[in-house]
Subunit: 452 residues, 3 copies
């Protein structure tokens, strides 16, 4: 890696207009919203095809029946149409009006039945009577419809014609993978589930932000390699891990992205390790943003971090959200739509994640080459010359870096310890490095190379 | 140990009626209250004889003069009568009215004396003028009487006849020991001082609750062996430790029980180790009871935990109390009587201790046998099938157990980490074990056996 | 070391009258205040000469040009006179009126100039218009005057005669060193910068308190050797460390003293280690004084602790202050004068530091020689004999010392753990030692000797 290349990343980051990025991300989401996705099938393929126009994406197909650890890749589900027609032939429930109207992975059905017979197959939210719930039945053969409770209440006794024109057949599980090579083989994993139909915050927000991250990172000179996965939830991460076990060791940091488009404050769920560099980096960025945020300890309920953080892998993968999944009323309902997400929030999420990557890219551990007493910074032009007045922030940062650089504290550690922003600490370290006052420590047994 | 046996303990625990148990404990206390106990002598023997009707108790006799570490078993004290008579021959202070009237271990005396001569031998509580204090003089030959301050104030000048009809002679120190064998040679120690005369909370409460614990545990199939000691304070635990040094290594957990009969909230004083399994177990049970309680760090002032936790032993022995000894006004006075203790509180203490033992009995460390990604719980019927809704507590507990079972976290650790009750975590582990998803780790070098 | 000698230190400490000491310290400060000090030169020599009347002081001279790590000993600066005269020949700014009027280390100048030409060389404090600032220019050749902003505002257009009659020539850096030998070669370092001209709290307070510490310690039998350094800030500690590298290993504890004369509460800045014995000792003394105080984590901005705690040395040196340098308005201005400091505060600082040394002198780690159960203190006359009442503080302290003395807890650790004052814990340990119940552990590989 050369100094010029590294400067690129930071310059790129500095030049970013989060509002503009947010609007672009939102526009992409608008295109993806109408597609009916599931954990397999053509909706997923269509989604990847659209992303491929933006980023270099490899589309992988894994056949039904493939063993992936304790699981098996399921049959592929596709749906053309679904409805419940009343005796006058009117579509009382119409899949064409909303993808959520059909229970995802419903087996085909074509029957006439009374309301009483149909009723067990109808899902509503009595507490949120205007919203259509999102329901799935991936691993048990079933069928059903989802509708607003108000609509259900208006459903008269009748003989209904029920049709789900779906197929559940041997086929493939499809996922997208984008690898952006950096100078190191060590990887940053970005994972998002792309299996939800017509739900914006969960998780078109993660999908579109991840796509823009890939687009953006592709322009930069990178220290780490970045691997982005657009996968179906649970089965997708399990499949990837099962088929890429030998690659897992290269993953040094990771983030699952979900619910990053709403107007709420950030929520970060730490990796199972709890004190991984990614955990410290995200917390540092959220803390220095001076906005309220919450940090949660790892728990085994959530999204694909459940798999990355299973004890046999225990990867340093956290989960970044704005509002926490399951804790906002729009969650898993038709209200998680294009009105619920916000381009400003999307742009802010995008920028914050890039700030986190900026920390990862530039975090290093140095040795002070003049460890006995302070070096004379003044003679190198690094220190203001008139004594008796207060010290400047950058000079203070240099003192911190010199004092703590004994090979056991990274720049991020020093930023946290000093209460100064990582950027200031890093700038101080760069200046000291240029004046031969620091040398980078070897990390992970490989020869360390300095970015400047 | 067989599954059936273990179920027994838990079933027994579930079937317990704490209120009924409390009433029985209280009734036993009522029988023991009138006996004049001391650290040696017939009052102690009488107490053990009564307990022996309830539980299998070995009564040990250790001769006066036996060296026990830095101490020597003292002469045996017995008392028949004691009084202070006025010149009209009326008993102004009468041992027959209250055991506390005589300083415990008073040497015999039979003299006439003026009030001025007698005064230095009279103990009162001027701040609590209606109460008789409890005083002892075990290791210095002395004699004295205790009375209420109000009674002292009404004591006229007179020539008094003072009589303490006691004996202090070579004899024995007596204590009771009850060993209930479990499948393991590792022991849970329950220790209570039984040397206090006519004082209920301190410590007939500990004695009677311990007796009912023995009675109860004797019916159950046990993992651990339980050793219950009914001993005189200080010299009793020192004597037991000196004479059983080779047994000390088997003690894995222990509790000193005292002041467990009053209406106050629980107080737990941790073992000197501070993070022993018994400390975590008691705290977990008190915390999940949702009642206020306090947990204290170890300090070397208190009851027999002082000896068990001396640095040469440093056993994992904590001390469970409700109100803290020395901090309630009735402490060591005639007001610590049958009115002060409460059958409800006794039953509650009893039940809580059994809950602690339930944790100890079932706490284990497991290895997840499917550590790479989550196992598919749904195909085993362990997970609800319709997606999109909230997870159930037991399912969440299974995820926690799977995620944390890497050989370094016990079920109790997982309960604490997850915020779920131990019982739920244990049930989840049992289910996962039955489905071959967990195996118990070997503990302490011995082959691990699973309870289910 | 013999028992008599150690008793001396504590007796001396007990006999101390802090108010009297404070008045003497203040009187010495009054003598030193008028001297114009700098980091080199005759003002510094004059200061040391005055201190030498009080304490055994070695005055060291290090030639200009000597390399000290990354630094070089600068040329020596001396000043005879300085002024700005108006066209009528009146001294508008007169160095004879206040040492702060000239920028410290100003190069010689003798010129006529207009106000506009002079203006860039004039320093004021617009926010504190009545005060003269303190400014230096040690490492860049420059000259200037400092004056109150009000005086500047009254300065008319005129032709001024500007004169700084200084010399900046090869010479020496001077510092004072006082070594008081104790029975151990291990040292306590006390360091204070003595380079500030006519500034009382910063740092004649440190200088004079340190001098009185030396005077006082010289009378006592000492466990540790005490090394007191009266040095110019930064370059002085760097010079000493560079020239005494082989002695650094003997420094076990250290304190930088600064701003110990004002009326504020104590502020202690911990050593870089953060949990060194000196850190614990100072905190214990400040905490048990029951006055508000603040404890700060180490930071690399401050006084000479910056050098002692540079990563190549990482000495256990903290910094004791009352008000924190830079945070009181009088700091580095003419208002830091003899009115700002207080003899009571000086005496209190002096006494507190001696209390800290009292802890260091007597802190030891013991082994309980009767570790199995408590020893019977009563038979040794160490425990009150009537049971049933509350324990006395000294008895409680004995129980703590016995319980914790397993070779891993020092007396200071035990004091902290128990919440008892170090003095009580130490007295308990002394009593137990005299009764053969404790033996001191060997420390640092040398044979341990007990003080009593």
């Amino acid at each position: 890696m050369t100094p010029t290349q590294t400067t690129d990343f930071t310059e790129l980051r500095a030049a970013l207009d989060p509002l503009k990025a947010g609007r672009e991300i939102y526009a992409l989401m608008g295109e993806l919203y109408p597609i009916c996705r599931s954990i397999t099938g053509d909706g997923f393929r269509q989604t990847l095809a659209r992303l491929k126009k933006e980023i270099p994406l490899d589309v992988r197909e894994v056949p039904t029946g493939t063993k992936v650890f304790d699981w098996t890749v399921p049959r592929e589900w596709n749906i053309r149409d679904a409805y419940v027609k009343n005796s006058r032939g009117e579509r009382f429930i119409d899949f064409r009006k909303h993808n959520l109207h059909v229970v995802n992975y419903s087996v085909p059905v074509e029957r006439k039945m009374s309301l009483a017979q149909l009723r067990p197959h109808l899902h509503t939210l009595p507490e949120q009577p205007d919203l259509i719930p999102y329901r799935t039945s991936y691993y048990k053969e079933a069928w059903g419809f989802c509708l607003s409770h108000r609509q259900l209440q208006q459903m008269p006794e009748d003989e209904y014609e029920v049709c789900i024109d779906s197929t559940l057949q041997d086929g493939h599980l499809t996922y997208g993978e984008c690898l952006l090579k950096g100078s190191s083989a060590e990887e940053v994993l970005i994972s998002c589930h792309a299996c939800h139909p017509s739900l914006c915050n969960d998780n078109l927000s993660g999908v579109t932000v991840a796509a823009f991250l890939a687009k953006y990172l592709a322009q930069a000179a990178l220290r780490y390699s970045y691997r982005l996965l657009f996968i179906p939830g649970t089965i997708g991460s399990i499949t990837w891990l099962a088929q890429n076990e030998e690659r897992v060791g290269a993953i040094k940091h990771g983030l699952v992205l979900t619910c990053v488009g709403d107007r709420g404050n950030f929520t970060y769920k730490k990796s199972r390790r709890g004190n991984a560099e990614i955990d410290l980096a995200v917390e540092h960025i959220l803390k220095t943003s001076r906005r309220d945020h919450s940090t949660l300890e790892y728990s085994p309920y959530g999204y694909d971090e459940r798999q990355y953080c299973s004890p046999g892998f225990n990867l340093a993968v956290g989960c970044l959200m704005r509002s926490h999944h399951g804790e906002f009323p729009e969650y898993h309902t038709s209200a998680d739509n294009l009105d619920f997400v916000d381009s400003g929030a999307l742009g802010d999420s995008f920028a914050k994640i890039l700030s986190v990557f900026d920390v990862l890219e530039h975090n290093r551990t140095y040795m002070n080459l003049n460890p006995k007493c302070e070096p004379q910074l003044g003679k190198r032009g690094l220190y203001s010359v008139t004594g008796g007045t207060n010290i400047k922030q950058l000079e203070l940062a240099m003192l911190w870096v010199l004092n703590q650089s004994d090979g056991t504290h990274s720049l991020l550690d020093i930023a946290e310890r000093s209460g100064l922003a990582f950027g200031v600490i890093r700038e101080a370290a760069d200046m000291l490095f240029r004046h031969d006052l620091l040398k980078p420590c070897r990390e992970n047994g490989s020869a360390a190379s300095h970015p400047v």
